[in-house]
């Protein structure tokens, strides 16, 4: 599948596959939250209906072409990341870009969002973007640190190779098991990356009226939703590849995806959100030292 016609078919089909997975994950997340809240919850594929609804709306409001370009950046950046993240049966692009590339591309969507929201001139949106960047400062360093540590230990920055190394010895060689400090620290970062509570400061409806999404309606919001759903899959996959040994087949992949998402959503359901400053303080007080300690331990071991 990583060459020839199969590759082309895969490249074309992958966004849809990943979107479908995102829809299922999103629906599952909402259903799970609903059940914790003792209610029935929406349909399993509710995000799909939402996206269709949004994309079919007659959007008559535009905030200039920069806004439209920004939306392209948002979705495009996420799609690009998606291709570079290896999944079972598809790791063609990961040979061209290791995790460092992914790190860079991952920054594109937030920047696109910042650009787009900037066009709307809504203070809530601007605050939201400012918060998003602050949060980036909070979790990005830690996440990079965990990766560095992990890469140092295994001597490669290629995500595919890291994945293969982990798969070599079953659960015992999973990143989370071999480097629990790094794994747990990265788990906190994942929660932050996915914008879930307690780090959901960017959207924060009660504070800044959904922040970046304030002025988004119709197709723009639809794009953001699509981006969000694909992003779910991408971010979960990155963590999975780094610390949960990736997946060898699709069954395992989906199972791990949902299991990981269950954890994320459970935390999301039982905790409120931090204030921005508390969130940053939290990131710097707990995951960052953990990650640093992990890296130091690896360095000590390595010596």
């Amino acid at each position: 599948m990583n060459s020839g016609i199969g590759l082309i078919v895969w490249i074309i089909a992958y966004p849809f596959v990943s979107f479908s997975l995102g829809v299922l994950l999103g629906g599952y997340g909402r259903k799970l939250t609903a059940r914790i809240q003792r209610r029935v919850g929406p349909s399993w594929i509710q995000p799909f209906f939402d996206v269709v609804k949004l994309m079919s709306k007659k959007t008559n409001v535009s905030h200039g072409y920069m806004h439209d370009v920004a939306m392209m950046m948002l979705v495009g950046g996420t799609l690009l990341t998606m291709y570079f993240v290896p999944v079972p049966g598809f790791h063609y692009f990961s040979q061209f870009g290791d995790y460092i590339v992914i790190m860079y591309i991952l920054l594109v969507p937030p920047l696109g969002m910042a650009l787009g929201v900037g066009q709307t001139a809504n203070p809530n949106g601007s605050i939201g973007i400012a918060r998003a960047l602050q949060m980036l400062a909070g979790y990005e360093v830690t996440f990079v640190l965990t990766f560095i540590g992990f890469a140092m230990k295994n001597g490669t920055t290629s995500m595919y190779e890291l994945m293969m190394i982990q798969q070599s010895g079953g659960v015992a060689t999973w990143g989370l098991v071999t480097n629990p400090l790094l794994g747990v620290a990265a788990l906190f970062c994942l929660q932050g990356m996915m914008n879930e509570k307690p780090f959901e400061v960017v959207i924060a409806p009660h504070e800044i009226a959904t922040g970046p999404m304030t002025e988004m309606g119709g197709k723009y919001l639809g794009m953001m939703f699509i981006q969000h759903l694909i992003n779910l899959v991408v971010e979960l996959t990155i963590y999975m590849n780094l610390f949960l040994g990736g997946a060898t087949n699709w069954f395992e992949y989906v199972a791990k995806l949902f299991a990981l998402f269950t954890l994320v959503m459970s935390v999301n359901a039982v905790y409120g959100r931090f204030r921005t400053d508390s969130a940053l303080r939290f990131f710097w007080k707990l995951p960052l030292p953990m990650a640093a300690l992990g890296v130091i331990l690896i360095m000590i071991n390595g010596i």
Binding site: T33, R38, P123, G125, H206, I208, E215, V270, G272
Partner: protein
């Protein structure tokens, strides 16, 4: 082209803000904003994340109740007073009925007085549960609203059974209450009380002892005792500052004088302390409800009043106070001996909490705490607007 601003009417509220040499900018919270309790607006001048100046804007819910009451018969008003405060309507009915009873020297049958206390306390429980939901919502913890508001629904079901209406009860009448308890009602009240009592520890687990709540609510919205007194705070907001004043104790009405209950207070004077006062008040209310059901005598529930179409209340005036879930709720009624009230002044509890105190407390706070501070004051905009 920003919706939140245009949802306000765009009047420039604070001179000097938005100027290029200034780092301050205007920000509107409401009237369309989930962080607002009801239809209300905060106009903020913000520098960075800090609120420099704050002003409230009300009147979106203004219906002119005081005027409407002057244009309606005494009996007709019992249907409209409940609408003044939506989450906690019964203090209105209580006040209205009691104002007339005071002016006209009407005695209320003892059983009716017990039933009124029962209704008031159930209403308080419902209102507090509602507020918990709102407060938890401001920190994004949506599990609690889902629980507490659906638990409040049990209380509303009791109301529906007793009064025929879920939210607006139209049950207190000058001279008593409109109907006696239905058969088997006492047991169902007790069941619901036990249910809520069982649920409270679960709330503690997820909400009141939640580290995030402690992190966010402790130390914000501090209203020290001296300021609380100076600015006219009442009810749980005053008690949260450590001052144990409760109209039920200090100016008892109905049969509160015969019931045993504590007045919970907090020490820290912050949002969390006020929240905990409310949480402990639910326990007290449950205890009051049990006492009421236990002590309630048999007998009539309504002291017959003249034909409502011809009913005149003798000339006079009365100032009646009730402890609502939000604080001191008072009515000043003047009758000139006619068939309509000459004047009814509604003093909602939120006229201090939701306006000046809120403005003072928001100044210097961070914008992410704005709505939490508002919910911690439990301000109810319709009380301000009337």
């Amino acid at each position: 082209m920003s919706s939140i601003i245009t949802a306000n009417d765009g009047r420039d509220i604070m001179p000097g803000a938005n100027a290029p040499e200034n780092r301050e900018y205007n920000m509107f919270i409401g009237p369309n904003h989930p962080g607002i309790e009801g239809n209300f607006a905060l106009k903020l001048v913000v520098e960075g994340d800090t609120i420099v100046r704050a002003k409230t804007e009300a009147g979106f819910l203004h219906r002119g109740f005081e005027k409407l009451m002057e244009e309606r018969l005494f009996i007709q008003n019992i249907a409209i007073v409940a609408r003044i405060c939506v989450p906690d309507p019964d203090p209105n009915e209580e006040n209205y009925a009691r104002a007339i009873e005071t002016i006209a020297n009407i005695e209320v049958p003892r059983r009716a007085q017990f039933i009124r206390v029962l209704v008031l306390e159930l209403s308080r429980i419902g209102s507090h549960l509602f507020t918990f939901g709102g407060h938890a919502g401001t920190i994004g913890l949506y599990t609690l609203p889902n629980w507490s508001i659906s638990d409040r629904d049990r209380v509303l079901e009791l109301f529906e059974e007793l009064t025929g209406g879920r939210v607006y009860h139209i049950y207190n009448m000058p001279g008593g209450v409109r109907r006696d308890l239905p058969s088997g009602f006492k047991q169902r009240v007790l069941d619901v009380m036990s249910y809520i009592e069982e649920r409270l520890p679960e709330y503690d687990d997820i909400f009141f002892n939640n580290k995030i709540l402690l992190n966010r609510a402790q130390g914000i919205g501090v209203l020290p005792k001296d300021k609380a007194l100076e600015w006219g705070a009442t009810g749980p907001d005053l008690r949260g500052a450590g001052f144990a004043h409760d109209v039920r104790k200090d100016d008892p009405y109905e049969v509160y004088g015969e019931l045993e209950f504590e007045v919970p207070t907090g020490e820290a004077s912050d949002a969390y302390s006020r929240l905990m006062v409310r949480r402990r008040e639910i326990e007290q209310s449950i205890s009051i409800v049990r006492q009421v059901l236990d002590k309630m005598p048999e007998g009539p529930v309504w002291n017959k009043q003249p034909n409502p179409l011809k009913w005149r209340v003798p000339a006079g005036d009365a100032y009646v106070r009730t402890e609502s879930s939000k604080g001191e709720y008072a009515y000043y009624m003047v009758s000139d001996g006619g068939i309509r009230p000459y004047r009814v002044h509604v003093r909602g509890a939120s006229v201090t909490h939701g306006v000046h105190i809120l403005e003072h407390m928001l100044t210097g706070a961070r914008i992410e705490d704005a709505s939490q501070i508002m919910f911690s004051m439990d301000a109810c905009p319709p009380e301000v607007d009337r």
